[in-house]
Amino acid sequence: MRVVTIPHYLDDRTFESVIEALQPWPPEGRVLFDARATKWASPYGFAALLTAAEALRAGGAEIPRLAVPESDDVRSYWAKAGFFVHAAEQFELHGKVPRRPPDTASDILLPITAVRGSEDVHDVVGRIQEQAARILTGELHLEARATLRFSMTLSEACQNVVEHAGSGGWVAVHAFTWRRRLGRRVAVIAVCDGGIGFRASLEPSEGRKFGDRWSDGTALEAALIHAVSRFRDPGRGQGLAAIRKYLTTWNGKISIRSGTARLSVVPAWDDDEPLETGQPFFPGAQVQIVIPAQEPLKE
């Protein structure tokens, strides 16, 4: 049994320690994810954790175990975020799991939702709009039409899973105050899948052009920066380009991790690395989009 400790604060950065603990991928033997001491999880943390379990099982591993958080408050929040509904299918759960069905806490715009096909994307877009309007214009002070742009962003991000992953995925959208990294309210979209990843998706059409340089990093650059698609159709590849355009308007950030690389379009308020390569392998693609409140940065 391999024990993987879930960090106290589980987000896109700290999830890297989870990935590291799963190396070499796929790990041998059964995995126990120990979240007993975990205090908080971002939408990325929730979606990535489910992705890890699903990817392990897809690789033929025994169903992983998850020791749920010990704190009642944390468990309650995880339930509200919709995590346990899906976790019950992906993990053998250990510990007290709240029985209450997920309801929508004020900062959860979209509980964890499975994305398996285009009907799910319709469902996600339909569910998000009323909540998104309240958060985006009321709390993040974005212009009124941002709600529709936000929904389009979400739609395109989810379709990426349906069209390119070769598997299902998970999406979640939360709003919270990002004290440690920004000091203001943010809306965060996380879309994660454990599918084939950008490199394999683009390799048939792009791999030869790059030759020896072809890698997870160049595949991510081709998709996100150069709007390259695996399809020859001239209308393809516009989804990520559109997301980038909107994020530029909102001073937002997008990060995509796929395979052994992570590419970010980094706004001025962040000091993240634009491209990280040589990371521990994790299957599929994990996308995080951060939209900050439109207010001056604190000195």
């Binding site: 994307v121 877009v125 389009m152 209308g235 516009q238 355009k245």
Partner: protein
């Protein structure tokens, strides 16, 4: 004669659950298929796609419904979008511009708009033809103080993109009523 197609009605026929939002490629492809069949069955040269009751349209669906339709319809078929709101227009404009395509639109807020690829000359000529009615290149050149060659070039480009009608050296707005 004009064929009017309510896009929201096609959406309801396509989806198993009610939705006003035009999202995803499979949905867009199914709707385009319905539009193509309706166009094939009519003798009307102009088809109005009515977006009045549609919610959002994402980029993938804008590509499937509008861009691909413009690529596949026959040369004598004119497509006009009606009732598009600002955000829908933005998505369609972006998708078409990237592919060098353009379409005539009647925005929800009123007026007339060319969405997609354009140049300052094309925009001006388009507005002028629709404001002043039928005319030839000489008339346009006179109104805008352009050379005859410049006016003829703009009008022919608009006609080639099916944004205006062309017949025997005369250029006319698309029939929209």
């Amino acid at each position: 004669m004009i064929l009017t197609i309510r896009v929201d009605e096609l959406l309801q026929l396509t989806l198993s659950r009610p939705s006003r939002d035009l999202v995803t490629r499979p949905t867009g492809a199914a709707i385009r298929g319905s539009i193509e069949r309706a166009i094939a069955a009519t003798t009307c040269p102009t088809t109005l796609l009515d977006f009045e009751w549609v919610g959002l349209i994402d980029f993938s669906c804008a590509d499937e419904v509008v861009a691909k339709l413009l690529r596949v319809v026959d040369a004598g078929v004119y497509i006009v979008l009606r009732g598009v709101d600002e955000t829908q227009a933005e998505a369609i404009d972006d998708v078409l511009a990237r592919q060098g395509l353009a379409v005539t639109a009647l925005p929800r807020a009123g007026g007339l708009q060319m969405l997609g690829y354009t140049t300052p000359d094309l925009s001006l000529a388009f507005q002028m033809v629709h404001a002043a009615g039928s005319g030839d290149a000489t008339r346009l050149a006179g109104r805008l103080g352009w050379s005859l060659e410049r006016a003829a070039d703009a009008l022919q480009t608009l006609a080639m993109r099916r944004l205006i009608l062309a017949a025997g050296g005369t250029f006319a707005p698309l029939p929209l009523q």
